[in-house]
């Protein structure tokens, strides 16, 4: 695994991914470069900040109280699901590593370790799709455009959060 620059995540955040391209490019880098083990705290803080910025952006750009409440609630629920998924991933990776290390591990044990986590994620999909639909429907096209930087940053920080274990 390639070592990552200690300031990688900070540097990445400072570049403020105001376009989705940057978020996706970061994702590609994370996939290809792997991850380090000492950046969890920074990433968690950055992630929390991105949620706060998106929430603040909603407050700033959405005047209608009812639509604001719907979008904010969707964001909060998505935040909860993402945190749970990140936490679940840490446990799933540890569990899989432990089973995989065992010479006598069977196909059933290995499959079971992976499918248990995938099942949990699959169970979230419907909820996630509903949340996205709710979030989008609560905003006008103009508001979606205005909030694009915050939405992109939230996406980028989520990638970092889920990568950091």
């Amino acid at each position: 695994m390639k070592p990552r620059c200690p300031n990688h995540s900070v540097h990445w955040v400072r570049r403020a991914p105001h376009h989705l391209f940057i978020a996706l490019a970061g994702f590609a880098i994370l996939i290809s470069a792997g991850c380090s083990s000492n950046k969890t705290q920074t990433i968690n803080e950055s992630y929390v900040q991105s949620v706060t910025r998106l929430s603040d952006g909603l407050t700033q750009h959405v005047d209608d109280v009812s639509r604001l409440a719907r979008a904010t609630t969707a964001l909060q629920e998505a935040d909860n699901l993402i945190r749970e998924a990140a936490q679940r991933r840490v446990g799933a990776v540890a569990n899989f590593s432990e089973i995989n290390a065992d010479y006598d591990a069977t196909a059933e044990q290995l499959n079971s370790s992976i499918s248990a986590n995938q099942s949990a994620n699959s169970g979230d999909v419907e909820t996630l799709i509903e949340l996205i639909a709710t979030f989008q429907s609560a905003l006008t096209n103009e508001e979606l455009v205005e909030l694009y930087p915050e939405r992109a940053e939230f996406a980028a920080q989520t990638l970092m959060l889920l990568d950091g274990n």
Binding site: L24, A85, A92, N100, N117
Partner: protein
């Protein structure tokens, strides 16, 4: 928000640190397995694991790039589009996991318990 949630399915769906496992094996197989034929076999399996990981990484990148093109500032995603996207992402991860397990079981067959312990001392 969409890409963040897609990521839950991609990374949260089981992005295990297989590179460390593979690298450790490649480093230690030489000394762990005396028989040249079985040693070659084990190294070939580890190389196949590495190749499979790279291939799936490319496919993931392609999926992300396709999504990127569709994700404009004004884009409003339908439930059907989202469902298809998540399904594709999950299938990709499931294929990757299945391929790794197949190769991992092949590797087990190629090694004795003692050789496995010597090849993966930190596992």
């Amino acid at each position: 928000m969409l890409i963040a949630l897609l990521t839950v399915m991609l990374l949260g769906g089981g992005s295990y640190d297989l590179s460390t496992f593979i690298a450790e094996g490649q480093e230690n197989i030489e000394s762990a397995v005396e028989d040249p034929k079985r040693r070659r076999s084990a190294l070939d399996i580890l190389a196949a694991m590495e190749k499979s990981m790279a291939s799936h990484s490319d496919e993931t990148t392609a999926l992300i790039e396709r999504t990127q093109k569709a994700f404009s500032e004004e884009k409003v995603w339908s439930a059907g589009e989202l469902d298809q996207l998540f399904a594709e992402a999950r299938l990709l991860k499931a294929d990757q996991a299945q391929r790794f397990i197949e190769l991992r079981l092949e590797l087990k067959e190629a090694l004795t318990g003692e050789e496995w312990a010597a090849a993966f001392p930190s596992s």
